[in-house]
């Protein structure tokens, strides 16, 4: 499968699954909530996934450890977050910082 075909198939499947996930709550339950434990697992999922995505996108390239300017850029994003910057300044600042490092080194 070409990269373009993979992309389109992913878009199609994400469209269907996201629709069904959003539809589930409103149609499946008459206001009955999940149990406390299930709710807790659902609430913790983003933290686990996001942490895994951050680290994978920061130090892994083609299945190998690859420490470069990305790590410094993401660390800079962490500093901006710690300073209370909004998400857009975090994203723009991290990209600019990484670009600067690549320009200099």
């Amino acid at each position: 499968m070409s990269a373009a075909e993979k992309a389109w198939l992913t878009v199609a499947l994400c469209t269907v699954t996201t629709f069904l996930i959003r539809a589930f709550g409103p149609i499946a339950v008459g206001g009955r909530a999940f149990g406390a434990r299930t709710s807790r697992v659902l609430a913790l999922l983003p933290a686990a996934l996001l942490a895994a995505l951050v680290i994978t996108e920061t130090v892994i390239q083609d299945g190998e450890l690859d420490v470069d300017a990305r790590l410094a850029g993401v660390a800079f994003a962490g500093v901006l977050l710690w300073r209370g910057a909004s998400v857009i300044w975090v994203v723009v600042g991290a990209a600019a910082f990484t670009a600067l490092l690549r320009l200099v080194f």
Binding site: A4, C14, T15, R37, V41, L42, L45, A52, E57, A77
Partner: protein, 232 residues
């Protein structure tokens, strides 16, 4: 549906007004999504279609990031589904406040994104439909238009890496992650997720480490401790 609601309801207009900061931020994030999707090798139209039909930022970023790493379609879609799993709980919460039969409620539920759900939450277990629609509409418009701008920009950039575009994904995820670290358990889950993602990221095919990391969320099945409740 949303437009007629907007015209007819002052509540929906108020919701739209309250959503403007989120819509503005979403515009910028959508631009970075469009640029990143292009540099990850995604056709521009596919990225735009994704924003139009999926309309879920974190899931879209996750799926495209995995494809960009060379991961499979299955891994990308599963990661997006897991990222969207929170909408199950949010949909259950908002369900009783929606109107009509099953089909209509399913369609009304499509207006749920993080910010619109939070703005519509009245705090007593009830949700305002009008605020939900009113606040989701401007966010949808800026999410889609921002993606178009990003795709166009990404198509003309000669060297995205020189501009640091490859840190847009991790920086965005980091910002979302910080918002999720509401108590010690979430922090522990995040650290465990990092360890699993790195180890399997080096040993397993692309995308597997990210999916496997989601397993640590099942720590939530443990019996609740009093201090964890207090921290939440």
């Amino acid at each position: 549906m949303s437009t007629s609601t907007l015209r007819s309801s002052p509540v929906a207009r108020a919701g739209a007004r309250d959503a403007l900061p989120f819509a503005a931020a979403g515009f910028m994030v959508a631009i970075s999504f469009g640029i990143s999707a292009r540099s990850a090798g995604m056709p521009g139209l596919a990225a735009i279609a994704m924003s139009a039909f999926v309309y879920a930022g974190a899931a879209q970023f996750a799926a495209v990031a995995i494809l960009g790493q060379g991961g499979s379609v299955l891994a990308a879609v599963l990661a997006a589904m897991l990222m969207n799993a929170r909408y199950l709980a949010m949909g259950v919460a908002i369900g009783p406040s929606l109107k009509g039969g099953r089909v209509r409620r399913a369609l009304e539920g499509q207006a749920v994104v993080d910010a619109s759900w939070a703005l519509a939450n009245q705090g007593d277990g009830r949700f305002s439909r009008h605020i939900l629609f009113g606040s989701s509409a401007p966010q949808y418009v800026t999410w889609l238009s921002g993606t178009v701008v990003g795709v166009l920009a990404g198509s003309v950039l000669p060297d995205p890496e020189a501009l640091g575009i490859d840190v847009v994904f991790p920086a965005f995820f980091l910002a979302l992650l910080v918002g999720e670290l509401k108590d010690r358990e979430a922090g522990a889950v995040a650290i465990a997720g990092i360890v699993i993602a790195v180890v399997l990221g080096l040993l397993a095919p692309a995308g597997i480490g990210i999916l496997a990391a989601s397993v640590v969320a099942f720590a939530g099945l443990r019996a609740r401790r009093p201090d964890a409740e207090a921290g939440a």
